[in-house]
């Protein structure tokens, strides 16, 4: 049983990664990540700064991008397109879940 202490981080807006960290963790190169930014698939918190910083949840997106690229042998532009559509689906699903949560369930 592994019990050594380890840093557990929520991949939300509370935690941020630099471009280099994101590349190191995700397995995509910095150049590939820049391309995903160019195509609008991921957005840095500070697009005008030379030192880009990304929200934690970007890592979830980028890892999916990495898996999709390998599994389907996709070009960066195609990865960006798939990622943008998946993000949109995720947003819509979150909105749907939120609306469902607000619907009364127990009518007696």
């Amino acid at each position: 049983m592994e019990t050594r202490p380890v840093e557990a981080v929520w991949l939300t807006e509370d935690h941020e990664f630099s471009l280099a960290e994101l590349a190191d963790i995700s397995g995509l190169s910095e150049a590939e990540l820049r391309e995903l930014v160019d195509y609008g698939a991921i957005k840095p918190v500070n697009p005008d700064s030379p030192q880009w910083v990304f929200q934690g949840r970007c890592l979830v997106t980028v890892r999916a991008a990495c898996r999709l690229r390998v599994s389907f042998d996709l070009e960066p532009q195609e990865v960006a397109l798939v990622i943008s559509l998946l993000d949109r689906i995720q947003d819509l699903e979150a909105q749907l879940a939120s609306l469902r949560a607000q619907l009364p369930h127990r009518v007696r």
Partner: protein
């Protein structure tokens, strides 16, 4: 060792060409890839498909696989005697090794050469697993025990599937679909490469009372008609224990009463809110006395709940 029919998994004939194999894989990957598919069994199915394609797309691995012979899926078999001499390592032991690991051994031959010279750094594999927890556990933070079977290189450089158990502390701040990254808790890095990470996908069990939206919670609040009209102080459950909620007079059905910061805690921020949704409910069987009182109310009241029907019909014309 159990046999897997990679051709059958991809739905192609044994003499299929590289293009046909690629096409079959892409079609199945599209259907079952966990990032695209909604099929709950998709992930397992995709692993199978990816494993089959990984072998059949590579001419060296495919030839080695073909030389193993053909058996029924799941049938126990041993590689032919000269197989390991031709494709693997002469000192190979096939004990406790599965087909994927055996074929990965071809790459592992290279891996061991690399491992020996200490040239190339390779990061360890990332593990991803879903932790199903209750809403109460998300509220308080919890510890979960995870059991995974993961591919790992043994001391001799052979890839083997080994069971690994983790105890992971999930800090408070969880909500449905959120990911937790545990750095360095994945597979071991090779030649000084960094260790892989463990990703936990949080899935909340449905709760009988509370519905979750991000870190906000929704609760149906049944009110008697007189409570809704007159207002009332009612006890409502929250994850932190019951609290009193002041229901204002003339509360309508569907109205949301906010209990500030009584939702799920966030990791670095204030808590979400709890929204109680008012519902006007009536007794299933009113007593004779209640019926008399309601009758008196009906006679005395000028309230017309459907007054807008006529107005709307008139304005519609």
């Amino acid at each position: 060792m159990k046999y897997k029919d990679y051709y059958d998994i991809l739905g192609v004939k044994r003499d299929a060409g590289a293009n046909e194999i690629k096409k079959a894989y892409r079609k199945l990957a599209h259907k079952y890839h966990p990032d695209v598919s909604k099929d709950p069994a998709g992930e397992e199915k995709f692993k199978e498909i990816a494993e089959a394609y990984d072998t059949l797309k590579n001419p060296e691995k495919r030839a080695a696989y073909d030389q193993l012979g053909s058996y029924q899926p799941g049938q126990d078999f041993q590689p032919p005697p000269d197989w390991s001499k031709q494709f693997g390592d002469t000192e190979s032991s096939f004990e406790g090794i599965d087909l994927e690991a055996l074929l990965a051994g071809l790459a592992a031959g290279r891996h061991r050469a690399v491992h020996g010279t200490g040239q190339i750094r390779m990061p360890g594999q990332d593990y991803e697993v879903t932790a199903h927890i209750s809403l109460e556990d998300a509220f308080r933070g919890t510890e979960v025990e995870l059991n995974l079977t993961v591919p790992e290189y043994d001391g001799k450089g052979f890839l083997r599937r080994v069971p690994r158990a983790f105890k992971v502390r999930i800090p408070k701040g969880a909500t449905d679909g959120q990911r937790l990254r545990l750095a360095g808790r994945g597979g071991k890095g090779i030649n000084g490469g960094r260790d892989g990470d463990l990703y936990l996908n949080i899935a909340l069990h449905p709760h009988p009372l509370f519905r979750v939206s991000g870190h906000d919670l929704y609760l149906d609040l049944p009110l008697a008609p007189w409570e809704a009209v007159l207002g009332a102080n009612v006890e409502v459950p929250t994850l932190g224990g019951p609290v009193y909620l002041k229901v204002p007079p003339n509360t309508r059905a569907g109205q949301q009463l906010r209990l500030s910061r009584r939702g799920l805690p966030k990791s670095h921020d204030r808590e979400g809110d709890l929204f109680a949704i008012a519902q006007i409910v009536v007794p299933t069987a009113a007593s004779e006395h209640e019926r008399v009182l309601f009758k008196q109310l009906a006679d005395a009241s000028t309230f017309n709940p459907r007054g807008h029907f006529q107005q709307e019909v008139r304005s519609g014309n």
